[in-house]
């Protein structure tokens, strides 16, 4: 009976995820598509929980559904402000024989992928045992954090660089779109005053708890970005004094600290990001704290789209 209920939940979730993705991509209204996509991200969060990937669930909810959703909605609003014609999604350029042959091709791809997944060896054990065996050397007790910041720290270093590069790319394009002048309502204003301190507290908690339970720098950074986005939405602006070098410093703090540690470990230990067991816990906390600040500020800056002070030029 229990397995039956468990299966019913899994089947319902999988059907919901696939149908939400389908409807998000097929609905004629772009705004509706974005909202359905956010819903898709939230249901996917539940799927991660079903697959025992709680860290991924937190990242998906905060970044995949939350920050991506905010970015998409902001882009939609800017698109509408630029040209009302641009938000109309005309039917695709493919029709008739082209559409049918494309559908056949996609079905073949789907069948091939399904076959590949179906025939994957089931006796595969992965690296779970190796990670568990070396966990006490890593300085943290959450295996996912140990992999992200110790065993495969260079992945995370490059990932933070990618985030910074995306922002540099976005800023260098220099889009100047007039912001819609709408005063925030009383509800939004009051809510943001209440929520922002709470969000900062939640971010700090996620950062701290990441050492031994699901959480970590990326989830915390995304929650921090949510606070930043909320402040921007309720009409608050970064003070001009902070918009120059303090903002740049906050953006590069995480990547620079991480890079410096990579160079120091290369010189002292002979291998990039080889953290010695007695220092690992403290070093990971330093990397994660600086990374959280930088990730939060970078994601907020991506939401803004242009460097502050230049958007009204």
């Amino acid at each position: 009976m229990e397995t039956l209920i468990s299966w019913a939940i899994d089947v319902a979730l999988a059907l919901l995820v696939v149908s939400l993705a389908w409807r998000a991509l097929a609905s004629t209204d772009l705004f509706k598509a974005i909202v359905l996509f956010i819903a898709f991200g939230l249901v996917l969060t539940l799927v991660w929980v079903r697959l025992n990937a709680t860290d991924v669930a937190l990242a998906e909810a905060a970044i995949g559904a939350g920050v991506t959703g905010a970015l998409l909605l902001a882009a939609y609003a800017k698109l509408r402000a630029t040209s009302p014609d641009a938000i109309v999604d005309r039917a695709g350029g493919i029709s008739g024989i082209g559409a049918i042959s494309l559908l056949i091709l996609i079905l073949l791809v789907a069948a091939a992928l399904g076959y590949a997944v179906w025939t994957l060896p089931s006796d595969y054990t992965g690296l779970g045992k190796e990670v568990a065996a070396n966990l006490d050397q890593s300085g943290v007790s959450n295996p996912v954090t140990a992999v992200l910041l110790n065993f495969r720290g260079y992945d995370t270093l490059l990932e933070i660089m990618v985030l910074l590069l995306a922002l540099l790319g976005a800023w260098s394009l220099g889009i100047t779109i007039p912001r819609p002048e709408a005063a925030p309502g009383l509800v939004l204003d009051t809510l943001s005053r209440l929520l922002v301190p709470l969000l900062i507290l939640v971010a700090a908690y996620l950062l701290w708890v990441g050492a031994h339970a699901p959480g970590g720098a990326f989830q915390a950074g995304a929650v921090l970005a949510a606070a930043g986005v909320l402040m921007l939405l309720s009409g608050r602006e970064l003070p001009a004094a902070l918009a120059t070098w303090p903002l740049r410093l906050a953006l590069v703090l995480g990547p620079a600290t991480f890079l410096m540690l990579a160079v120091i470990t290369l010189i002292l230990e002979g291998r990039v990001l080889k953290l010695s067991p007695e220092w690992a816990g403290r070093l990971i906390l330093i990397i994660e704290t600086t990374a959280t600040i930088s990730i939060g500020v970078t994601l907020t800056a991506l939401f803004m789209g242009a460097p502050p002070g230049e958007e009204d030029r």
């Binding site: 468990s6 991509l25 991660w48 697959l51 998906e60 641009a86 494309l102 789907a110 985030l163 790319g169």
Partner: protein, 104 residues
């Protein structure tokens, strides 16, 4: 069939739905959504492979890779959205110039 395999097949399905939408739709915002759905499909296969059966210890390495992937996806999405806005500001349309426009 195990639960993990079931979700892995759903992931393959998501990838295919996303690929179809990416090729069929012309609006760039829709293409960006499609790429994100394709990415989610890949993550689902990865996560399913992390726990091939209920007894095995779930593998934290794919989980860490998915978190990395989610962050890279949001970075790429943000850059793609700005590129789309730039294109719209230049041409007034959020679509890539197609073959018919080039010929005419």
């Amino acid at each position: 069939m195990s639960v993990a395999l079931f979700y892995a097949l759903a992931g393959a399905g998501l990838f295919s739905i996303g690929l179809h939408a990416l090729l069929v739709h012309r609006h760039l915002l829709r293409k960006i959504l499609a790429v994100n759905v394709m990415g989610s499909g890949v993550f689902l296969v990865l996560a399913a492979m992390a726990a091939p059966n209920a007894i095995a210890l779930s593998d934290p390495v794919p989980h860490a890779m998915i978190i990395t992937g989610i962050v890279v996806a949001v970075a790429a999405t943000a850059l793609a959205l700005v590129l789309m806005l730039k294109l719209t500001a230049e041409t007034g349309q959020a679509v890539l110039p197609g073959r018919e426009e080039e010929n005419s």
